[in-house]
């Protein structure tokens, strides 16, 4: 009986559940029609078109579920046919489009209805909107060529409409949906199977400029979708270049460019003569012509496209820089040519005389072509344009063309140098960057160098640094050039002392690039004298250091140079080699065997002994299993010390060395924590040691975050190990808490959390698990079934033993590893004058810092200000404050607003940079292919996901401030 009862209870129970489910599904079903029904009712209620429009507008604001889309569409269509007012129909048409965009909805079912609506429509606007809807439907059905075919057919039918809007949409539709493969077109032997290109091409001569534009755009769309455009279009497109409307011309320029890329080698006749040229050359000439168009939009477009026409023949290319000068019908040389001549005749910059530029030979009047059909002077015009957008585009194009053609690079040099004096800073900067990019192909003449160097005095730091960057990779032809560069750089140094680092770096490259040119300059630069001893220069003088950097770098590949050094130079070398090791290379110096034997100059980076050293020491560490605990600790300590020192000495290995050192540090801490005797003794007695173990756990956690987020180039293999280390730290934390706290309740939560973490670790890194034989997690996962069921105290015990027994994981090193570093250049922290301001008001502090190897600095880098009262403030710099001077490098130039209540005397605040991280954005989650675990990601407990933190990664800088009390 009891059993029966029980069964009934169960039955009832299950029944209730079922009913519940039923209800809910029913409810869902009810909502579907209700939405459309409501709309239906609303629309029926509407007495006037204005009302109906209002209802529709309201309706459009709410999203519609996928299931009910079709119903809503039907109701809308029903009303569509009833409606007399065009504006309401228009809105309905647009709603149809909107609805068919709904994700997950397949608009197959409404294609016919939508096409039918077109039939009786009279209003042009509504027609255009309906076609737009069809376009949406068509793009939603990429897999259905027959529907697309039908839609294209419909569009073709409406191409004869008298309204430009309708024709526009038709062309757009044909462009987006027209058949791309020939085969498809033949299969469906209908009207639309006609060549879509021809249909579109016919509208190149439409009376309305908007339709002409749409036709060209549709053609471009077809091209983008992979249809090979016919060459016959070329002549049509050329005619469009002379159109009255800028948008048509702009689109036509694009079309010509596309065709020139498709048929670069075909031959086209030159009108008005019987010659023929390559199509790409002809197109190039035509686009060049557009650089002097009346509309700046077209000019920008043309200038941009020129850059990507690399197949053009070189004499056409060189024409772009040629503008035949004349004065009173006599040929005149350009200033560039004159400068070159002056230079080659040995006379340098004599200054301009009256009549210096006097025209020379007579020109045959017939030969002068004032408006060439060709490319003549296109870049000359582009670079002189009124709008800086055009100038920038022209500079970019020059850059791209020069990169592919060394001879052109040589020719465009003069023009680029001229652009260094543009009135807009952006253009100047752009041209300097461009010059840097092409500098491999060129050697600067002295007069050009002179002009380049003149810009060094620019007050804009960006410009100066870009210029230093440029000088790093320029080739100079003469020793005078090097001297000139050095003098100008030193001038720059005295004028802007903050440029110190950048100038030193610049000289380093300048020296190592031109050892033979520096050699004859050495006595002069070091001011040595054959007979007399000269006074020893001040070692702290940045200018002297700059000179030494130049010389030492040149001496690296010029063994005869050290013979010219005086005694103190050798001493200074030793000092600089140590203090500025990144700027001063190792040298083989006579009588200094120690230094020279350390490094032989011929080694390649792979055989670099320091790298070998790194690997050897790591090998040693990983084999320490056989040592006793004390030995292990000592070995680790020594290795860490070695690695840190190595990192300081070898800048290219710094990231690698630091990374491994940190890892070993974590291991050391873990070992130390586990070696403590506290584990053997009852908990309450060892409070002090507990502190050690828990701090160790905390520190390891911090370090793992650093390892994960501060290094660029960390791969998933490393991430696993880092996470593994973190897991161990968490285990340690759990054990320590278990031993120090009384009662079991808090442990429940902790244990559960820990187990979840183990779980998620397993899910995230399932592919990496086979590599982790014998590790902590490997063992833990074996014990998992036991852990889940056992009590917290048992869990802790298991953890403790596994932690002790687990092996130390080998950390594989990635190819490239760089530590994110930040260096605050300004404020320097040296000022004794406090920054005074009235309390309650703000003062702006200029912060200037260089960031290296920071990924996405806009999102992660913050500025922290610490006040003496312990108050801390974190400032998010604006994205625009970050500049990107080179790969992997960023520069933060921002203003920090400070404010505080009044102080009695000045005090120092600390400014530092923080790197914010969020384990959500963890590298693990981005690296591992999503398919394997994307579902599980959502299931991850939020506690694991949400950890956010900051890592300080720059030295703090102290700023002396003094908020004064406000005067009443």
């Amino acid at each position: 009986m009891a059993a029966h009862l029980k069964k009934r209870v169960y039955e009832e129970f299950t029944k209730v559940v079922q009913q519940h489910e039923d209800l809910s599904t029913k409810k869902l079903r009810l909502t579907k029609p209700s939405k459309s029904a409501a709309l239906h009712v609303d629309l029926c209620k509407a007495t006037s078109p204005a009302d109906a429009l209002q209802y529709l507008l309201q309706f459009a604001r709410k999203p519609v579920e996928v299931e009910s889309v079709e119903g809503v569409v039907r109701i809308l269509l029903e009303h569509y046919y009833k409606e007399n007012d065009a504006s309401v129909r228009l809105k309905i048409a647009s709603l149809l489009g909107l609805l068919s965009k709904t994700a997950g909805f397949s608009p197959d079912c409404i294609v016919d209805d939508a096409i039918n609506t077109l039939q009786n429509e009279k209003s042009h606007q509504v027609l255009a909107q309906l076609l737009d809807t069809l376009l949406v439907i068509g793009t939603k059905l990429p897999e259905n060529p027959s529907v697309r075919m039908r839609l294209v057919e419909v569009a073709c039918k409406h191409l004869t409409d008298s309204s430009h809007g309708v024709r526009n949409k038709c062309l757009q539709l044909i462009g987006c949906l027209g058949p791309v493969e020939k085969g498809v077109a033949k299969e469906a032997e209908s009207q639309a199977a006609k060549d879509v290109q021809k249909i579109i091409g016919d509208h190149f001569n439409d009376q309305d400029p908007r339709v002409r534009t749409a036709a060209i755009k549709a053609m471009l769309q077809l091209h983008e979708r992979g249809l090979k455009l016919q060459q016959a279009i070329y002549s049509q497109a050329c005619k469009l270049l002379a159109d009255d409307y800028e948008q048509v011309r702009s689109a036509a320029v694009q079309l010509i460019w596309v065709l020139s890329q498709l048929y670069p080698e075909s031959i086209v006749p030159i009108p008005s003569s019987n010659e023929e040229i390559r199509l790409v050359d002809d197109a190039f000439g035509k686009i060049c012509h557009m650089v002097s168009d009346g509309s700046w939009v077209v000019r920008v477009q043309a200038a941009k496209l020129l850059g990507s026409m690399q197949q053009v023949s070189s004499h056409f290319l060189e024409q772009t820089l040629d503008k035949k000068l004349m004065s009173d019908l006599r040929r005149k040389r350009t200033a560039h040519e004159r400068a070159k001549e002056l230079y080659s005749s040995g006379e340098f910059s004599s200054g301009r005389k009256w009549g210096d530029d006097a025209p020379k030979e007579e020109i045959d009047t017939g030969a002068v072509n004032l408006i060439e059909s060709g490319a003549c002077g296109a870049f000359v015009h582009g670079l002189e344009d009124e709008m800086y957008e055009v100038r920038i585009a022209a500079v970019e194009a020059l850059c791209m063309l020069a990169q592919s053609s060394p001879s052109f690079a040589e020719k465009c040099l003069d023009f680029l140098v001229d652009m260094f004096n543009d009135e807009i800073e952006e253009v100047r900067l752009q041209s300097i960057h461009t010059m840097r990019k092409i500098s491999n192909n060129i050697t600067l003449r002295e007069d050009q160098l002179d002009t380049v160097l003149a810009v060094l005095e620019d007050s804009s730091r960006d410009i100066r640094e870009a210029l230093h960057e440029l000088l790093c990779c320029t080739n100079v032809s003469t020793k005078e050039g090097i001297h000139l560069a050095l003098v100008e750089l030193l001038k720059n140094l005295t004028k802007y002392p903050t440029d110190r680092e950048s100038i030193w770096k610049c000289l380093k490259f300048l020296g190592s690039r031109h050892p033979t040119l520096v050699l004859p300059l050495v006595p002069e630069l070091l001011s040595t004298h054959p007979f007399f001893d000269t006074p020893e220069p001040d070692m702290d003088d940045p200018a002297y250091i700059a000179v030494l950097v130049l010389i030492f770098n040149a001496a690296k590949s010029c063994p005869t140079m050290p013979a010219l050094f005086s005694d103190h130079t050798f001493r200074h070398y030793a000092y600089l080699r140590d203090s500025l090791s990144h700027l001063v290379p190792p040298l083989r110096l006579p009588g200094r065997k120690l230094v020279s034997s350390a490094v032989s100059p011929s080694i390649t980076p792979h055989e670099d002994p320091s790298q070998q050293f790194l690997h050897q020491s790591l090998e040693r560490v990983y084999n320490f299993q056989h040592l006793d605990p004390r030995g292990i600790q000592e070995l680790l300590e020594f290795t860490i010390r070695d690695l840190q020192r190595l990192g300081e000495l070898q800048s290219e290995l710094a990231g690698m060395a630091d990374f491994t050192a940190t890892y070993l540090q974590c291991q050391l801490l873990l070992i130390k924590a586990l070696q403590e005797k506290l584990w053997n003794v009852a908990a309450p007695l060892y409070l002090k040691q507990n502190a050690l173990a828990s701090t160790a756990a905390k520190q390891i956690l911090e370090e793992t975050y650093k390892m994960e987020f501060m290094y660029s180039g960390v791969e998933s293999r490393q991430v696993v190990i880092i996470h593994h280390m973190r897991l161990q730290a968490k285990a340690l934390q759990l054990i320590v808490t278990a031993r120090t706290t009384r009662g079991v309740e808090p442990l429940f939560g902790m244990c559960e959390k820990f187990l979840q973490e183990v779980d998620s670790f397993q899910r995230c890194f399932i592919s990496e698990l086979p590599h982790m034989q014998g590790s902590f997690v490997d063992k833990l996962l074996d014990l998992m079934p036991r852990l889940v069921t056992s009590k917290p105290s048992e869990v802790v015990k298991i953890l403790q033993t596994t932690l002790r027994q687990s092996t130390f994981l080998h950390l594989p090193l990635p190819e490239q590893l760089h530590r994110a570093t930040a260096n605050i250049i300004e404020p320097t922290g040296e000022s004794d004058n406090p920054l005074r301001f009235t309390s309650g008001l703000v003062v702006a502090l200029d912060v200037d810092a260089t960031l290296e190897h920071v990924q996405d600095p806009q999102g992660t880098v913050k500025v922290q200000v610490l006040y003496p009262d312990g108050q801390a403030q974190i400032i998010h710099p604006k994205p625009a404050d970050f500049r990107n001077p080179g790969p992997g490098r960023h520069r933060l130039i921002t203003q920090v607003y400070l404010s505080h209540t009044a102080w009695t005397e000045p005090c120092q605040i600390e400014v530092r940079l923080l790197l914010a991280y969020n384990s959500n954005r963890s590298k693990a989650s981005t690296r591992i292919p999503k398919s394997t675990w994307s579902e599980s990601l959502e299931a991850l407990p939020p506690s694991e996901n949400g950890i956010e933190g900051t890592i300080p990664f720059s030295k703090p800088v102290k700023v002396y401030i003094m908020p004064k009390p406000a005067r009443r």
Partner: protein, 618 residues
């Protein structure tokens, strides 16, 4: 949507290039320096373009001879308006004389900046002529004021209706602040006058721009008809380098300039350079006239170039930070400095004073930014003279460096061609240049654009034929009826239609013939063409008719061909009858008769029948 252009007659308009014959005796220099004054007569409207004076003369010859325009009678009655392109005296110097002393009360159009700056220059000019040279019979300050009251200022791209038919529109011309090109339009005829313009932007002004307005005539200056200039950047860079080097050496730089135009450009150039390079040496600008002018430069930011327009929110570029007003005492200050001083040719005034003070030191430098007339100190030192004889038999030894920089703001040959390409005129007229150089440009223009190009001499009148389009009203009924006939409408193609053109009360209307008859109260007359065609056919008349009928029926499938019982054939409304020839029975005479309206079909039929009938009857 449709437009029909009826070519009815050719209108004629006239262009006089005025200037008294006296000027013709100095070609070359005369042509370049001034007295721009052009009369345009377009569709019955007379417009005067610019009203300049000649710098080289101090007597009556300095102003155009306005009596040339109307021998007797008031100018106001003859001229519909006067347009001034920019404020240079060779374009506006004669304005007060013209309007106040000769007498003109009609509207004078100029751009806002021109209106603001023009009176300053005129007043300055008046002062020099009257106060310094002591001339009488010259216009007074009051006259300048009265003259400016007649001025109507126009905005860029603003279309101003001068009267019902005449409208003008200003385009940006570069050159100097406020320089404008003007389009003058009457009905569908238009003329564009460029004034002076510059197609390459400089440090303070943008480039001239015009849309594709396709005027009947483009009147363009041609100062640099035979020159293609080098990039401006080299010149600028050289200039800056020279100044910079001298200042760094501790030398002083003297830049003699004229008060307006180039001076501001050079100021901006130096100012931005000082800013960029963080230089500290002072820059001075001689006061007076320029200060006032600089004030206007600050106001008319919209007329300047992109850079100044974009940055003026932060800082107006004409509010110079480094450039200060000059005081005579500063010239003796030690240390480097840069001074802009007037006048530009070192012939008198402040610039000469400073020059004398500084000439002895080889560290100093003088930079001549423009052309110097022969005989001036500027010209002497530019041609290399190192010892100058000053007044009082003093000998001045010039040790300072002398540099020449050309900063001219006229379009070069390429620029002129570019403007022509932009505007697409039907005819071009070159003014403001030397005949020999213009000849070259004229050939080039005709060769490249295939438009006719004129270059009238002073006082010569050029007549240009235009094809004006005449709008005609058409009644809607007729339009609909006619469009229904024939192929579907193609908007871009001209279409032939039938109707009657009524010219009545100065208006043109196209109406249907019936309506025209009704309106004019005329009875309708029928006009029939009759034609006899001889056919060799020995058969009977009715058989011939039958053959003709079958033949036509076979060919004219689209028309209704009927064989009437009375033995005649009708094709639509065309009647064909056959009779035997009175003398030769073997020859049949076909009488074809059609009305005027069926002319097309009728003539076709006749020609068809003339070819004869097919040999074998089916």
């Amino acid at each position: 949507m449709f437009s029909w252009f009826f070519l009815l007659f050719c209108d004629v308009f006239l262009v006089f290039c005025d200037v008294s014959l006296l000027f013709c005796c100095c070609p070359g220099a005369g042509q370049d320096v001034g007295r721009s004054c052009i009369l345009v007569s377009i569709a019955g409207k007379n417009v005067m373009l610019d009203c300049g004076m000649h710098m080289g003369y101090n007597d009556d010859r300095r102003f155009p001879d306005f009596s040339y325009i109307t021998q007797n009678g008031r100018l106001t009655d003859f001229l519909d308006c006067v347009i001034i392109s920019h404020f240079h005296l060779d374009h506006c110097g004669a304005l007060p004389y013209f309007s106040e002393m000769v007498g003109y009360d009609g509207p004078i159009y100029m751009s806002h900046p021109t209106k603001a700056i023009c009176p300053i220059l005129l007043e300055d000019y008046r002062k020099i002529t009257v106060d310094k040279k002591g001339e009488t019979n010259f216009f007074t300050s009051q006259m300048i004021k009265d003259c400016m009251k007649k001025v109507v200022a126009v905005h860029l791209h603003q279309t101003v209706q001068v009267d019902e038919e005449l409208e003008i529109k200003a385009y940006y011309a570069g050159h100097v602040l406020g320089a404008a090109m003007f389009q003058i339009k009457v009905g569908c005829e238009s003329v564009v006058y460029t004034g002076d313009y510059n197609m390459t932007p400089d440090r303070h002004l943008g480039a001239a721009w015009i849309d594709k307005c396709r005027p009947d005539l483009l009147i363009t200056e041609s100062t640099y008809a035979t020159t293609i200039r080098d990039s401006k950047r080299c010149r600028e860079r050289d200039f800056l380098k020279k100044v910079h080097e001298t200042v760094e050496r501790g030398g002083k730089v003297l830049i003699p300039v004229f008060a307006l135009g180039r001076a501001q450009e050079l100021c901006i150039l130096l100012e931005t350079f000082w800013e960029r390079m963080n230089l500290k040496a002072p820059i001075y600008f001689s006061t007076g006239l320029t200060e006032k002018a600089n004030h206007y430069y600050k106001l008319f930011i919209t007329w300047t170039n992109q850079k100044i327009r974009k940055t003026f929110v932060q800082r107006n570029m004409f509010e110079f930070k480094h450039i200060k007003a000059f005081d005579r005492a500063f010239a003796d200050n030690p240390g480097p400095m840069v001074v802009f001083a007037t006048p530009g040719m070192l012939h008198a005034g402040q610039s000469l004073q400073i020059f004398r003070k500084w000439a002895g030191n080889e560290k100093n430098m003088v930079i001549m930014p423009g052309y110097c007339v022969q005989g001036t100190v500027g010209h002497k030192i530019l041609s290399g003279q190192r010892k100058l004889e000053m007044e009082g038999r003093q000998i001045l030894e010039v040790k300072m460096q002398v540099e020449y920089m050309s900063f001219s703001a006229h379009a070069d040959a390429k620029g002129i061609m570019q403007l022509i390409r932009q505007a697409e005129p039907r005819n071009v007229l070159l003014v403001h240049g030397e005949a020999k150089k213009m000849e070259f440009l004229r050939q080039k223009i005709e060769q490249e654009f295939h438009v006719s190009c004129f270059m009238p001499a002073n006082g010569e009148t050029t007549t240009i034929l235009t094809n004006p389009s005449i709008p005609v009203d058409i009644s809607l009924g007729l339009l609909k009826r006619e469009t229904a006939i024939g192929a579907a409408p193609d908007a871009k193609k001209p279409k032939l239609m039938h109707g009657t053109l009524l010219m009545k009360d100065n208006s043109f209307r196209l109406v249907s013939p019936e309506q025209a008859l009704k309106e004019l109260g005329l009875a309708e007359h029928q006009l029939r063409f009759t034609c006899r065609v001889h056919i060799q056919d020995p058969r009977k008349e009715h058989e011939t008719v039958l053959r003709v009928y079958n033949h036509l029926k076979g060919i004219l499938k689209d028309y209704s061909v009927q064989h009437l019982p009375d033995g005649s054939i009708t094709v639509e409304s065309i009647l064909i009858q056959a009779t035997a020839h009175s003398e030769d029975q073997g020859t049949k005479v076909l009488l074809v008769s059609w009305t005027y309206q069926d002319e097309e079909l009728g003539s076709y039929l006749t020609s068809l029948l003339k070819k004869g009938l097919p040999q074998s009857t089916p």
